[in-house]
């Protein structure tokens, strides 16, 4: 079945009910989300927002209480819907009796990769994630970063068209993160849809094109990273401006910061910054920098979850 969406959920709900106490937790509360084919999508949210439950609902590891989830147009409850998915869980625990190769062989076989293809694919995967030469070593001897890369390799074993990664950079050092990003870029170039669940906002901002922010089981904000972080103002830096001029500009600026003789004004609009530039140039002041302001994803995130 062809669908333009890799992931499509409609009013997806998961309620956990306590067996003994009259208490229920709405971990996922009516989430309707669409992730287009080929998208690089980030799911953000504070701890306990319902991100992992949402991801597990897509994989049928958790049974939704209501709503529906489709993977490439197929009901996520159907095991066949999971065939195009490569999944890296959060806090995975690979059995330590496996060697790297053995582990990849096992999970690739479960994903339906035949024996001949696995023999060829496993060395390729180990090389791709930078673990060449580690295939015969037991998983118990791997560092956290290596385990994460091995986990990524198992997710890629059957060349999935949808990668669902739960905290892929968790516990990985900056070099390892860079490596993971490179691998994911490679997957993106091959047309895979990448869905990342993470609390590492900088990582998501750097890599994802679209995000959704979850809070208390609900989507509170969704959009492209570019649109969400686009600012509405300008930052103007002036070295050693005259005091009188600073006072004049202060009335037009939203904020003024001074450090080491450099005064930085933030103006809310193009008109106000142009007026400021005219004033400064009339006084023959030098301008160090003039840049449009942007929000970081962290600022957007904090605003969204603190509403």
């Amino acid at each position: 079945m062809q669908s333009e969406y890799a992931i499509e959920t409609s009013d997806l709900t998961k309620v956990y009910r306590s067996r003994w106490v009259q208490r229920e937790v709405r971990a996922v509360d009516g989430i309707s989300l669409r992730v287009s084919r080929g998208a690089i999508f980030g799911l953000l949210g504070p701890n306990g927002a319902g991100k992992t439950t949402f991801v597990k609902s897509l994989l049928s590891a958790v049974h939704p209480t209501g709503g529906s989830a489709l993977i490439f147009g197929r009901d996520a409850r159907n095991p066949e819907a999971r065939r195009p998915i490569g999944y890296l869980p959060e806090n995975h625990r690979f059995p330590t009796y496996f060697t790297g190769e053995g582990m990849l062989d096992f999970y690739a076989a479960l994903s339906g990769v035949d024996s001949a293809r696995r023999k060829k694919r496993i060395p390729e995967l180990l090389e791709l994630v930078g673990l060449k030469g580690w295939g015969n070593v037991r998983v118990g001897k791997y560092s956290k970063g290596m385990l994460q890369r091995l986990g990524l390799a198992q997710a890629l074993a059957h060349e999935p068209s949808l990668l669902i990664l739960d905290e892929p950079a968790d516990g990985v050092d900056p070099v390892g993160r860079r490596h993971i990003r490179d691998v994911l870029t490679h997957c993106e170039q091959n047309g895979a849809t990448i869905f990342i669940n993470s609390h590492l906002l900088a990582e998501v901002e750097m890599f994802c094109k679209e995000v959704a922010i979850l809070h208390s089981g609900k989507v509170v904000l969704t959009g492209t990273v570019r649109d969400l972080t686009a600012g509405k103002g300008y930052r103007l830096s002036v070295p050693h401006p005259p005091e009188l001029l600073v006072e004049q500009l202060r009335t037009r600026a939203t904020t003024v910061e001074a450090a080491n003789g450099l005064v930085t004004f933030r103006f809310p609009s193009r008109e106000s910054v142009n007026e400021a530039v005219d004033l400064l140039r009339a006084q023959q002041c030098e301008i160090e920098a003039l840049t449009p302001t942007t929000n970081t994803l962290e600022e957007v995130f904090l605003r969204a979850v603190q509403k």
């Binding site: 956990y16 597990k56 994989l59 590891a61 958790v62 869980p89 625990r93 062989d105 076989a109 479960l110």
Partner: protein
């Protein structure tokens, strides 16, 4: 098929890593070596002239066939009691280990149904024990065959019956594992069922001793419902000793029990959130 084989192979790999396979294999080997080196039989015209065990010689002219059948019976009894206990103890951790957080999520995210996952694990577990039973029974059978010249195929039945009753008991381990994720509890419940079996098997005696119809009915229900480890062991012994036995009821009622318990475990496993 690829996924099924992978699940079975994984169970073997874990059994090797946990030394379960080697433990059972070592025990079987010790028994085989025991018969190979310590049991010396001198035969004169088809009958034993002397039987030597632990270096002590018994000069009674015993019937060789009876002796061999006796040895077979002892091994079958060993398999049904001590061997079964060991197999249950050894296997009890193999189901809860799959359900560990961080491992199960990845398994169920694969394009394989949960029924398939659990049955693959179950089949792998049965095969681990069956391989050891085959090794032990065939080993002893071959050694005794070579030493005595008697090749009684009846003993080979114990491969099927031992593996069968283990498969039935393993369904209880699986159910307990899926319900409580506790190897200890799975072992306790399964061993309790094994211990109850010889007691429940005394049905005719109990029918005379129990005073009320209600208690007699309860006893009968328990007897017919629960797996008949004792009865199956006795059936195997009877088959080995060429004695007749009364019907196949212990086989099909135990099979029904195992199937029902396994179906329950599969249903619970399919509905669980991980």
């Amino acid at each position: 098929m690829t996924a099924t084989l992978a699940l079975i192979r994984d169970t073997f790999r874990e059994a090797f890593a946990r030394k379960i396979f080697w433990g059972l294999f070592g025990l079987s080997t010790a028994m085989i070596l025991f018969f190979l080196f310590l049991l010396k039989i001198d035969i004169v015209e088809g009958a034993t002239a002397t039987v030597s065990l632990f270096g002590r010689t018994n000069n009674r002219a015993a019937d060789l066939d009876r002796l061999v059948r006796g040895v077979y019976g002892s091994i079958a009894t060993f398999l049904y009691t001590f061997g079964m206990f060991l197999a249950v103890f050894a296997s009890s951790g193999l189901i809860p280990s799959v359900l560990e957080p961080g491992r199960i999520e990845l398994l169920v995210s694969k394009p394989v149904s949960r029924t398939h996952i659990l049955l693959g694990r179950y089949a792998g577990n049965v095969l681990v024990v069956t391989c050891n039973v085959i090794y032990l029974v065939l080993g002893v059978w071959t050694i005794l065959g070579i030493k005595t010249g008697i090749w009684s195929p009846a003993f080979l039945i114990s491969i099927a019956t031992t593996s069968f009753i283990f498969a039935v008991l393993l369904s209880v381990v699986v159910l307990m594992g899926v319900l409580f994720e506790s190897a200890a509890l799975a072992t306790m419940v399964t061993v309790a069922l094994m211990l109850m079996s010889p007691i429940l098997a005394q049905t005719s005696t109990m029918m005379r001793l129990l005073s009320s119809e209600w208690s007699r009915q309860t006893w009968r229900t328990l007897y017919y419902t629960l797996p008949k480890v004792y009865d199956l062991g006795k059936m195997t012994l009877d088959a080995i000793q060429s004695r007749t036995f009364n019907g196949f009821m212990p086989i099909w009622t135990s099979a029904l029990f195992g199937a029902a318990v396994l179906a329950g475990a599969l249903a619970i496993f399919a509905r669980r959130d991980f």
